[in-house]
Symmetry: C3
Subunit: 399 residues, 3 copies
């Protein structure tokens, strides 16, 4: 991980020149060619596309990584087909099921087997149709987790991995309750993902959100990016609640009518090691409260629950925001979490707070761009994406 | 007609390999280069653009074959001018008639003679204007038939033929009553035309239309295309009301609460000759009940009336659907037809049934495409268009 | 001013061939390359962008000459900044003022000094941010006159001139009352400007406007263009209230229920000199009642007031119409003008009459074009623009 290491090297040494981006004033994304090319997303990953309850026998059309896909549930299992009849280009999602285990195009009754996409009957060509078995539509691997339908977008030459191997580790084998929102949004998925892991903006952009009444945030931090396995973590080395800007003025978000900042601040350390570890964070075993992994999966660990965001590429100008909160309790204990989620979190956090992010993601327009010190979170993410993609390509090439 | 013959050769031999398209799996339209290039329609033909009653002294703007045209009625006669003042590009259809036999641009009063498009006065340049007689706008031949205004779109080097020579023969010299609809629709005119003559879709797509309560349709047919003069006809060699699809299931549209299929089936013949001819069809003298001619004129012969569809090119993504029904009766006898038309046909056939076609035409997206056996109707039509265009070009070249 | 002289030479000799455009039938704008290239306006000028009362501490986004600009008033003075944060491309106009004399980006609190656009604080990067002072956004000179905010669009290499030197001379040092409209409109600014000075259209296009009940207009004129200083003036050598067009008919806008044309007609002269000068026009010292100057500033001198139009380029397809009427009175005498303006002028002239112009400007589509005799006003304007731009370029090159 040479590139990643270099871009985070010395992150603990808060004032050292090496902490600043190596190419100050760089305007474009040419250092991250794979990332630069991934306007419609990275192929070779699973993406959540809708709630499981929204997929039934009536086909549902979705767009994922620029590809049109028809989803249909048959005998309990969800299937995904390329949403275009090869005959005349009509969307198969406009059709319906004339026979079990199949989907028929509405125009001429071309009937495709859901399992493998093979043309198994053409109603208007009779039982002896010669074209059957000679035409196929592409199918996509589908799985269901967290109450959602996930679709795997293939990468040429790569065998699909399991969905479980892509999910956050703590979601496997544990019981939990979940609440969330899936929302179509404008703007490229990369802006959404960068916004999610962005160290810099939350403290300023969200200063006016109601969520901030309960959750005080600093004015500025010194942040280090710590890679661990497939994740990168944001670790705070310094936290500053107020600041005097020379020649400009004093700035703070402290107000007498808001919750006050905590007396103790965890996860800090000029030495590169935390002075004291937040016991809640420690309970999850994470080095930092915010972490990110491919293909755009954000994890924010709060005391008592974890918030995840998935930035699902639709096309170059649209993405889908998937935000879920998970509480690791069971049975009647989870009622409290649900009350808290439905009564507050859903509206304040997944609603107004996240809406401010959606606003910025919509109007972000980069490159060109000028990066500053806190953008180490962005460059570390881009480097992570670049390296993981290079590794995939190497593995495919080795076969 | 070599190409057409070859694409329909052996059509009577229902199981012979020769019946299948010669280039199975062909994806593009490169075999029909003229047709492929005719996204905005074929030039050198008359097209119906609106009802005669809609054209009066106030200019009406229409778009035909990608050209903007101003229609205006003067002294009973409809005139068509290119809808752009050569002075500053303002649409002439925004103007009005300041003098009999002319149309004036609203901006500076440039006044064009309706008969030949010549600039005959410029109101703001005085009576001695030197530009008069030196500028013209293009005019288009106009005629009126079937209660509609028809405009001829010129083909360089070709003399316009008469509108009568382009109309269905049976409409000349006979008395008839007529009802119809003109409707702007999205989608290329060729998809609309191919849909109209398409042997394959009606039996499946329209299975849910109310029209089908009264008009049973088969599940699949064996169809032959028979050229005769400038028309091509669809002739059924086999009609199958139900089918068992191996490994998939049984399919039928028979229902106890619908009209039942006829006991006798006409126009069939494995020998290539009809076993028995439908007496109604025979009364018109047509070899089949559905026929098509350039430049996109469909004729469906029903007992007692004939239905015509004209697919009028607007631009590459829009066309105008012109559907008319004609009843060859006169006087008080026609009252029955009108009652039937206004009470049922207009809503069920020109409305809901035809609306299903409009839906498919809108979403058809070809090429690429994969053709199947019943698409012999499409390929025969494309070949007809290709050959008639080649003939036109040859005649122009010979001059 | 060779080109301009040649295009107006002999303008007094009303029937001489030399009066007609030298390149009859010319279709394009290749003779005016600077003008042809100025689709988004001429740089190096001041433009009025909004009413002064509309600019306050909350930033206002405007587009001028294709550039996005944020306007904000601080301590009484209006500032204009390029409306794009260099960090991530977010519009600064979405931000607000966190400190006096600055504007902060809403996303990460990048804070720019209004005076020079320099990045003077980054709230989320702390007081010792190293990027401060190293990044700037472009600022634009701003001034206020006539109750409006004016922005100077820079031309590379040119020092901004004062706004006063660009305003009509009579507005400097005189007291006056003013009423007006600012309105976004579709269509290129050049069509709007050409329409404003166009000798030809008013008499015909506006024949149906209510304004014309009180203001009779001729059918056609013989017009000369007289350059004087930076202005060009339209001077009428002949005025014809009615006309008989040979073979077409008689045309007049005289009606018994309208005001009648004046008995005396001023500003005429086949000799090239006015026979008699309109005393009102003379009082202003103008050679003609309609005049035009760069960068698209029209002046129509009426008895008692002057009407100005500024055609402000937004982008290639949109402009802003700024119409103001000025009455050179003071104190209680101006009440009469206000009553007249609010009671009639605003609705009839700035409203319906000007709306007819907006309609034509929207649908003008040139080049190609065919010019006629009265278009000497257009060609003289284009030549004026061409020459003044050439002069600017020469001055810059000489530095």
């Amino acid at each position: 991980m040479t590139e990643l290491d270099s871009s985070v090297s010395g992150a603990g040494d808060t004032r050292a020149p090496a902490r600043r981006p190596k190419r100050p004033g760089r305007q474009d994304w040419s250092s991250w060619p794979e990332y630069n090319a991934a306007a419609t997303g990275f192929r070779g990953y699973w993406y959540p596309v809708t709630w499981s309850s929204h997929v039934n026998g009536k086909p549902l059309a979705v767009t994922l990584c620029g590809e049109k896909i028809a989803l249909v549930r048959d005998n309990g299992k969800v299937h995904a087909l390329h949403d275009r009849c090869p005959h005349r280009g009509v969307p198969l999602s406009f059709g319906d099921q004339q026979f079990p285990g199949t989907l028929s195009c509405p125009y001429h009754g071309w009937t495709f087997r859901l399992g493998d996409g093979e043309l198994c009957a053409v109603i208007t060509d009779g039982p002896e149709s010669r074209i059957c078995g000679k035409v196929r539509v592409q199918t996509y691997p589908v799985d269901e987790r967290l109450g959602m339908v996930w679709v795997y977008v293939p990468l040429a030459g790569e065998e699909p991995h399991s969905l479980d191997s892509q999910l956050p580790e703590e979601l496997l084998g544990n019981s939990f309750m979940l609440g969330g929102r899936i929302e179509p949004r404008t703007g490229n998925w990369r802006f959404a993902c960068e916004n999610g892991f962005d160290e810099g903006h939350a403290k300023y952009l969200h200063r006016t959100s109601l969520w901030r009444l309960f959750k005080p945030m600093p004015t500025w931090n010194i942040t280090r990016i710590v890679p661990e396995g497939r994740w990168i973590y944001r670790v705070q080395d310094e936290v500053h609640w107020e600041a005097d800007f020379p020649g400009v003025g004093r700035w703070t978000t402290k107000r007498w009518w808001k919750f006050q900042p905590p007396k103790e601040t965890f996860n800090l350390g000029n030495t590169g090691k935390p002075k004291k570890v937040d016991p809640v964070i420690e309970s999850y075993g994470f080095p930092g409260f915010a972490s990110l992994a491919m293909p755009g999966m954000l994890r924010i660990a709060y005391p008592g629950f974890i918030h995840y965001e998935f930035y699902v590429p639709v096309d170059a100008d649209h993405h889908q925001y998937v935000g879920v909160m998970v509480n690791f309790t069971e049975g009647w204990k989870s009622l409290g979490f649900y009350a808290k989620y439905l009564g507050a979190i859903r509206w304040l956090f997944h609603g107004q707070f996240s809406g401010q992010d959606a606003w910025m993601v919509d109007v972000t327009d980069a490159p060109p761009e000028k990066l500053y010190r806190p953008d180490v979170s962005l460059t570390a993410w881009r480097t992570l994406a670049e390296e993981e993609t290079a590794k995939k390509r190497a593995e495919i090439g080795a076969k």
